[in-house]
Structure formats: structure tokens, C-alpha cells
Amino acid sequence: MLKKVKSLTRTNEDTIVDIIVYIILGITIIASLYPFINILAISLNDPMDTYRGGITIFPRIFTTQNYKQVMDLSDGQLYHAALISILRTVTGTVTSVFCTLILAYILSKNDLFLKKFFIVTIVMTMYMFGGIIPEYIVIQKLGLINKFPVYILPQMLVPFYIFIVRTYIQDLPDSLRESARIDGAGEFTVLFKIIAPLAMPVIATVALFVAVAQWNSWFDTFLYAPSKKELSTLQYELMKKLASSMQNLGNSRARLQGNRSSNQLTPLAVQATMTVIVTLPIVCFYPFLQKYFVKGLTLGGVKE
């Protein structure tokens, strides 16, 4: 009965709008997902067969050989690159979150000496940049070229994150902090025992922001450690593959056939396989990512 009443009030316009909405959203879904599924299918398909074209969402001749062979390329360089990627993501996230939390906590104190000066000093850096060349020279003078800390230090403190966390801490009830102080707890006890657990949502948001940025980063390797094999990351290895195929643009035969003498792999298969490897962690963490990122976006977007 109810359905009937509903359908009676529907106009033609409603139906047409619905059709258009669902068609366009359907296209959006396909456009967002298809490329990833296609790459996955290519990575699981026999490279010589891929050369014939026409791989869409399913592999035609299923194989996992590509993964094994890609990881073994150039003496297992990719294993090492994966290790560096993980290492920089973990170290970068931990240091960045730790420092951001402490700095945000200090700045959340109302009676902080010279508070305004500190805040202005930090805010200014959101709008003024030295530029690529002077930054490079500073990094060089600090002796960080070709050193692991170059992945951690330059973007360790991001003003935007500091202020998100600070706002969150300020919005926590003051009484918590005060009662702990009266009980004689030191600043760090208050911060790590009381504030930090309560600020977990915002800390998780910032941690994920930083972790994704770290995992996806390749430009700093390109700039500060381009030929240091020991510091290469997965993203940078994939970027090198991409760059070499861009040099051969228009010569898709070369890209598909590649160097057949050494093994079965083709450049396309290598790229697809590496893309899947690089994307996998993002997909695995995706449920957390989208939950906390969206929260973070509204946290930062509404206030300021």
C-alpha cells in the first residue's frame, strides 16, 4: 500500500533525474575502480599473452610468476626498496605524530609565555616558502643529502596538523588538566596519560595523513637521494620504470615486448605488478583511511 502511494506522488521529473543520477554515478564508480582492476588483471596475466591485448577485468592466462620475477629483478633491489618504504613510513609517522602532539599541547596552554610570537612564527611558514633551490642548499649544508633522515626531517612538522591537534586539545574540558595538575602530575604525565588518550581520534587522523604521505612520497628521493641505491623506495622504483617508458612513448612495441631474452617479463607487466605492490597497503588500510581522513577534513575545514 505504502509503495503505491509513494509511486503515485512521483513525477516524470523524479524518474528522469533518478536515471541521470544513477547513470553518472555508475560511470564514476567504474572510472574509479576499473583502472585498478585492470592493472591487477594485467599483473596476474601471462606477459606474452597480455601483449595480444584485450585484458580487461580478468586475467586470461592466470599466473603469479610476474610477482616472483619482479621482486627478483636486479638482485632483489625491490625487497630492499620495500623495506625502506616501510621504514620511512613507520619512523616518519611516529616522529611526526610525537612532535606534533607535544608542540600542539604546548601551544594549547592559554598562559604560555610569548604564545602569540610562537604561533605567528609557525603560521607564517604556511604561506612563505624558500623554494626548491634554497631548500636544497639548506638540506645539503645540513649534510642530509643521501641520508635516511632526509625522508623524515623536512616534513616532520606540518603547521596544519599542529593546529588541528591543538584545536582538539583546547576543546577538551579544562577541569581534567587542572585536577591532574593539582594532584601534582607533571606536564608530561598530563600530556601522555590524560590528554593523549582523549585526543586519540585526532592523533589517528594525523598519523594516517602522515603515513599516506610518507608511503606515497617519491619526490624527495628524486631530489635528495636520486642515485643512492640503499635509499630507494618502492614509489621511486616504480617512478623510474614509468620515466623510462615515457622516454619510449609512442613505441608501444618496445614497452610490450621489452627485453625478451632475459626472462618472460615485459615492461608493461613489470609496471602493472609494481603498481599493485605499491597500492596494496593503501587498499588494505582503506577502511581506516577513509573513516579518519574524512573526519580530519571536516576538523580542519570547519575551524581555522
Partner: protein, 314 residues
């Protein structure tokens, strides 16, 4: 006498405050040193643009040349080409980005089925989380001579034969804009969805009573309701016209010898001169130009925002 006394006690209060906060202030000092070294020293490094900077001579030993590099910069056609490319790509990106994300938010808002809405949203921002290296790999694979885009257009009869999209100057800006749109549309729609959800539901109900159809409701309620956010986002983006970090990544990954004339942005011009040709001082002058114009744009946009009654951003 009395004034002196007050001053003294004020001083005492400050001293007491400092001694109470000495641990926090000490930590603060460390953080300030961090910002000075990593953020302010590079700005101080701008002096090199007025020198013939040589790494082994340093800032104190290098020869001063005044505005020589700036004169040379403004006489270099490549530099103006880079400005044109940057602004051109930025504007096309902005137009596509705005229309697509506003549109997606409106469409999502029209979906009554909550599960489908959530699914579409979740899927649409997947590309946001992958790196530009991955995105660019996908873009180049799709745009191959025998890639999906050519297959699609030739099978529908729009194209007689496959096009090498990335190798043609006339398509490059469009590819940059469309690939950025593909990657960011779902993500950018979030902020507009938030704006829509803040619209008073009574307005919709009243309009239904008045007999307004769905299209009129979109046009007369949803869009005006989003306007403050849209204007805010446009203003925020003005400061980014001379190029963002993502534009650097995107162009660096997608450009190739065939399109270099339309692809080089100000940042890439700076990089080429600085890192490949080692003309540090000259490259720094281009960087300074970009930084200064960007800051002026940001503050102008902020002033406009205030005039329009928006909350100031800075």
C-alpha cells in the same frame, strides 16, 4: 615610583611564568630552531639570487651581482612560456575540479539509497589515496596507442585510428586537468557534501509544498546553499595559481620529450636550471618570483574574502 613598582611586579610575574614553564619553553626553543632551520633559512637563502652563488664559496664568499639574474629572467622567453603553462594548466584544472566535485556532491545528495550513496562515495575517493606515481602509471597505460581510451573511442566510431594522446601538445593540458579530476573528484566532493548537509531541511519541505520539482530544488536551494563554500574554495585556490606540489608531481611524471614546450611549469623551469644546469642563483630568482606572487595572491584573495563578508582565512 608607583609606576616602577608595578613594572617590577609585572616583571616578577613574567619571570615566575617563565620559571614555571621552563620545561615547555625549552622544548619550544627546539621546535623554533626546527622551523628556523627548515623553513626560514631557505627564505634567507634568497640572497643567493642577488649573487653568483658558488657552493664552495658559500653565501658570504660569493660575488654580488644585484638584479642581474632578475633582468635575465625577465628576458628569457622560456620563463614566460613557463608562466603561461603554469597558469593555463592551473586554470583548466580548477575549472574541471570545481565543476566535477560540485556536481558529484549534488548527485550524491539526490541518492535516496544510503548504502549506494556510501558505496559510491567510498569508491570515488580511492584514487585520492594512491600516489601520483601510481596514478600516472594508470593514466599512461590507459592512454597508450592500444590502451582503453583508444579502444573505447575507436569502437564507438569517434576515432578512425588510435591517437597517441600523451605525445600531442594540444591534449597535454587537458590530460593534466582530467587526470587530476579523476584522482580528486571524490575527495573534493566531501567538503561540498558537508555544505549541503548544513542546509536547512525545512527549505526543501517548503519548496515541495510549493510544487517545486527536483531540478528547481537543486537550482534554487542546494546550489545557493553551497555558494559560501564554493566561493571560499575559489578564493583559497587563487593562491595556488602559480603551481602546487601536485602539479609538479603530475607534470614531471606525465611529460615527455614530445610535449616539453607546453609542459614546463615555473617549478620545473626552476628545477631544470638549478639541478640540471647548476645555475643556482638564476633558478632561485625564478623561485622568488613565484613565492612572492603567490603570497600577494593569497593576501589579495583574503582581502576579497573579507570584503565579501567571508571569514578571513589568515
Amino acid at each position: 615610583m608607583a609606576g616602577n613598582k608595578i613594572k617590577l611586579t609585572e616583571k616578577n610575574v613574567i619571570l615566575k611564568k617563565i620559571s614555571e614553564q621552563k620545561l615547555l619553553l625549552l622544548l619550544m626553543l627546539v621546535f623554533m630552531i626546527y622551523f628556523i632551520v627548515f623553513r626560514y633559512l631557505p627564505i634567507a637563502g634568497w640572497v643567493m639570487a642577488f649573487q653568483n652563488y658558488k657552493p664552495h664559496l658559500g653565501f658570504t664568499g660569493s660575488e654580488w651581482v644585484g638584479l642581474k639574474h632578475f633582468n635575465e629572467l625577465f628576458g628569457d622567453p622560456d620563463f614566460f612560456r613557463a608562466i603561461r603553462n603554469t597558469i593555463g594548466m592551473s586554470i583548466i584544472r580548477l575549472i574541471f575540479g570545481f565543476i566535477s566535485s560540485i556536481g558529484l556532491a549534488i548527485l550524491l545528495n539526490e541518492v535516496k539509497n544510503a548504502a549506494f550513496k556510501r558505496f559510491t562515495q567510498t569508491v570515488s575517493y580511492l584514487p585520492h589515496f594512491v600516489s601520483w606515481v601510481v596514478a600516472a602509471t594508470i593514466v599512461t597505460t590507459s592512454l597508450e596507442r592500444d590502451g582503453i581510451v583508444n579502444i573505447f573511442f575507436t569502437s564507438l566510431g569517434f576515432l578512425k585510428e588510435p591517437v597517441l594522446w600523451l605525445g600531442e601538445e594540444k591534449y597535454f593540458w587537458l590530460i593534466i586537468a582530467l587526470s587530476d579530476m579523476w584522482k580528486e573528484v571524490g575527495w573534493n566532493a566531501i567538503i561540498y557534501l558537508a555544505a549541503i548537509s548544513a542546509i536547512d531541511i525545512n527549505q526543501y519541505e517548503a519548496s515541495i509544498v510549493d510544487g517545486a520539482g527536483r531540478l528547481r530544488r537543486i537550482w534554487h536551494i542546494t546550489l545557493p546553499g553551497m555558494m559560501p563554500t564554493i566561493i571560499l574554495m575559489i578564493i583559497l585556490n587563487i593562491g595556488l595559481l602559480l603551481g602546487t606540489f601536485t602539479l609538479v608531481e603530475q607534470v614531471m611524471l606525465l611529460d615527455n620529450p614530445m610535449v616539453i614546450k607546453v609542459a614546463e611549469t615555473i617549478d620545473l623551469y626552476t628545477l631544470r636550471l638549478g639541478m640540471k644546469l647548476f645555475r643556482f642563483s638564476f633558478a632561485a630568482s625564478a623561485g622568488i618570483f613565484k613565492s612572492l606572487v603567490s603570497v600577494i595572491l593569497v593576501f589579495t584573495a583574503n582581502a576579497i574574502a573579507k570584503k565579501l563578508g567571508q571569514r578571513a582565512l589568515i
